[in-house]
């Protein structure tokens, strides 16, 4: 198996699984958001890696260049990054309001308060 050639994809899988694990296992709400972020970023890495064309140049038109990398995934990921930023911002602002209402950002303590009320 071509370990070096697939290096980017290994990074993608490791990042994705770490993010996914963090999202499911962390009890702290901010850590959960970090997990989601890691998960989303791994997908960005994946898309950008698929854009690479062997021997291709940066997709900016110039004389004397025959082969360019595929610019489309870059553009798609630009949109996906915006979506990622928006969901992170929304998540963090929700955490701020949860902190104001419950006085804690630990999931167990929040749940405990809900059971009591």
């Amino acid at each position: 198996m071509d370990l070096i050639g697939l290096f980017n994809y290994w990074v993608f899988i490791v990042l994705m699984m770490s993010g996914f694990y963090l999202l499911l296992s962390a009890r702290n709400l901010v850590k959960k958001i970090i997990g989601v972020n890691l998960f989303q970023t791994s997908v960005f890495v994946f898309y950008i890696s698929t854009a690479n064309v062997t021997g291709g140049a940066v997709p900016i038109h110039d004389e004397g260049i025959e082969v360019y990398s595929n610019p489309l995934p870059h553009v798609l990921i630009l949109t996906a990054i915006v979506v990622g930023v928006a969901s992170t911002a929304l998540g963090l602002s929700l955490i701020l309001r949860i902190k104001a209402e419950y006085g804690t950002i630990e999931e167990d303590e929040v749940d405990a308060q809900d059971v009591l009320s």
């Binding site: 996914f20 999202l23 709400l29 959960k32 989601v36 998960f39 989303q40 997908v43 994946f46 898309y47 698929t50 995934p73 798609l76 949109t79 996906a80 979506v83 928006a86 969901s87 929304l90 998540g91 929700l94 955490i95 309001r97 949860i98 209402e101 419950y102 929040v110 809900d114």
Partner: protein, 502 residues
């Protein structure tokens, strides 16, 4: 000009009206702008549905770029059907929101509320028209992000945690969808759904096996199915739904329960039927044998859980999970009858759940609570609201003369035609369970007496009651008089199966 650009206008009008709402600020102006935008979308959607039924698929090239290079908007019969449903529900919910929102949400947040509602609306409509797989992801996120904000505006602080959990799972689902699309793009080099379908059927890298039979595309399908299943709350990926419906403001519960999961089901149809035909999803993968048991299991389990709920909104939320199960059974069968039944139930369920959640909103307006022990006998003092609840409940159970009966009958017919006796018996079992929970609801509201020391309640204001009764009456109208939805759903099923064979 409007005829030519109608497809894009349906989406663009609410999208542009959203920032306008924020600029208009407090009070009636924002509400007026939102209502005008939603009603004009509704008019355009009716016009487009008519045109799609007459002339077939409608196409629109964004910015004049030809597909597959540019983004193509492509409205087929299933898309137009769901679009009409979403806009119709919006058109009923907005007049209702005027009174309900003033009661449930602080004054300084009203214009933000309408802006988010319009964004959510525009996102859902965008999903129904787009013919581009990545564009669909963008619209999915527009609608989801605004939904999280809408849910967090609920009065109870648990709305915040419900919204946060929905945000985590929703983002996860959307990212799964993104990975799936990435795999498909990697194999085919295109994002246009029709073009994807053509290229997936073509020869793969080794020149012999078609692209659909490669492991990459199978992995892509796995990611896409799981991602979309989270969005539509298919059992066992439904955990986010009960709290979201229970703690969101009344208007939002009604709008979401009637539209959001329905549009997610349309995405599932796009993935399985429009993008990659029957060959992979239903022949070489045992999709029917995994989706149908999961869906029917979900229907039974969720109905069972609904019986033990002591909060009206949570009860209805669990019943929604059960009903999503019915729709997916129809879709998973992959027969024309099954698809038509699934789509018809999608339409009818939006009518009944919309009516029920709006009626509960009327009760919340007067009582301020949704727990059973505080609602005893309330229905006796609110006759019109209870009429809507009874009609909606009967339709939910599937009693003859209601819309729910028509679609459940069609579903049973489709299941039996496929020879699945076990599934059919489980559908009946789940219906019996729904008799129990609807019975409990009616018992608490109408048969129990109001405690002596409780404050007397009056019928809700007309602004709330009229939209509720309109939706309740639609349940009877489409159950007895008008069979247009069944005809459209049959045409839609035909169109989807044809797309698959091309």
């Amino acid at each position: 000009m409007i005829e030519q650009h109608a497809i894009i206008l349906v989406v663009v009008i609410p999208l542009l009206a959203a920032p306008l709402c924020v600029l208009l600020g407090r009070g009636a102006l924002a509400w007026g702008a939102a209502t005008a935008a939603v009603w004009s979308s509704f008019g355009l959607a009716l016009y487009l549905l008519d045109r799609t039924l007459d002339e077939g698929v409608q196409r629109y090239m964004l910015g004049g770029w030809q597909a597959p290079v540019g983004i193509e908007y492509r409205l087929d019969v299933p898309g137009a059907f769901v679009m009409t449903l979403v806009t119709a529900i919006g058109a009923v919910v907005l007049p209702y929101s005027w009174t309900s929102v003033r009661k449930e949400i602080d004054d300084h947040r009203h214009h933000w509320f309408y802006a988010c509602l319009l964004l959510c609306f525009a996102g859902l409509l965008g999903i129904t028209v787009t013919g581009d797989a990545f564009n669909l992801f963008v619209f999915l996120e527009i609608s989801s992000l605004s939904t999280y904000v809408l849910v967090s505006m609920g009065r109870d602080r648990r709305a915040l945690t419900a919204s946060f959990r929905y945000l985590l799972l929703g983002t996860l689902g959307a990212t799964f969808y993104l990975i799936g699309i990435g795999f498909m793009y990697l194999m085919t080099g295109t994002l246009n759904m029709e073009d994807l379908a053509v290229r997936l059927a073509g020869p793969g890298p080794d020149g012999v096996t078609p692209v659909v039979d490669t492991t990459t595309i199978r992995a892509a399908l796995a990611f896409l199915s799981v991602g979309v299943s989270i969005k539509m709350a298919l059992f066992p990926l439904h955990v986010w739904l009960p709290n979201v419906y229970a703690y969101a403001p009344s208007v939002v519960s009604a709008f979401l329960s009637a539209t959001a999961t329905k549009v997610a089901i349309l995405v599932l149809l796009r993935v399985f039927y429009t993008v990659d035909g029957k060959a992979i999803a239903f022949e070489s993968l045992p999709l029917a044998d995994t989706l149908v048991p999961l869906a029917i299991g979900g229907a039974v389990v969720a109905s069972f859980v609904a019986i033990y709920q002591r909060d009206v909104k949570r009860l209805l939320a669990y019943s929604s999970i059960a009903q999503v199960g019915y729709m997916v059974v129809g879709i998973g069968l992959a027969t024309q009858l099954g698809l038509a039944a699934g789509l018809l139930h999608l339409f009818n369920h939006a009518l009944m759940k919309g009516a029920l959640f709006l009626a509960i909103g009327c009760i919340v307006y007067r009582v301020g609570q949704t727990r059973f022990e505080l609602l005893r006998g309330v229905g006796r003092q609110m006759p019109l609201t209870s009429a809507a609840i009874v009609i909606g409940g009967l339709s939910l159970v599937g009693v003859p003369l209601t819309a729910g009966f028509v679609s459940k009958w069609a579903l049973l017919d489709a299941v039996l035609e496929d020879g699945r006796w076990v599934t059919a018996s489980f559908i009946l079992l789940s219906s019996l369970l729904s008799v129990v929970y609807v019975g409990q609801l009616v018992h608490v509201l109408l048969i129990r007496r109001r405690p002596k020391d409780a404050e007397p309640v009056r019928e809700a204001p007309l602004w709330l009651v009229v939209p509720t009764l309109v939706l309740a009456a639609a349940n009877l109208w489409f159950g007895v008089v008008d069979s247009t939805p069944s005809e459209i759903s049959r045409t839609a099923a035909e169109a989807l199966l044809q797309e698959m064979q091309q």
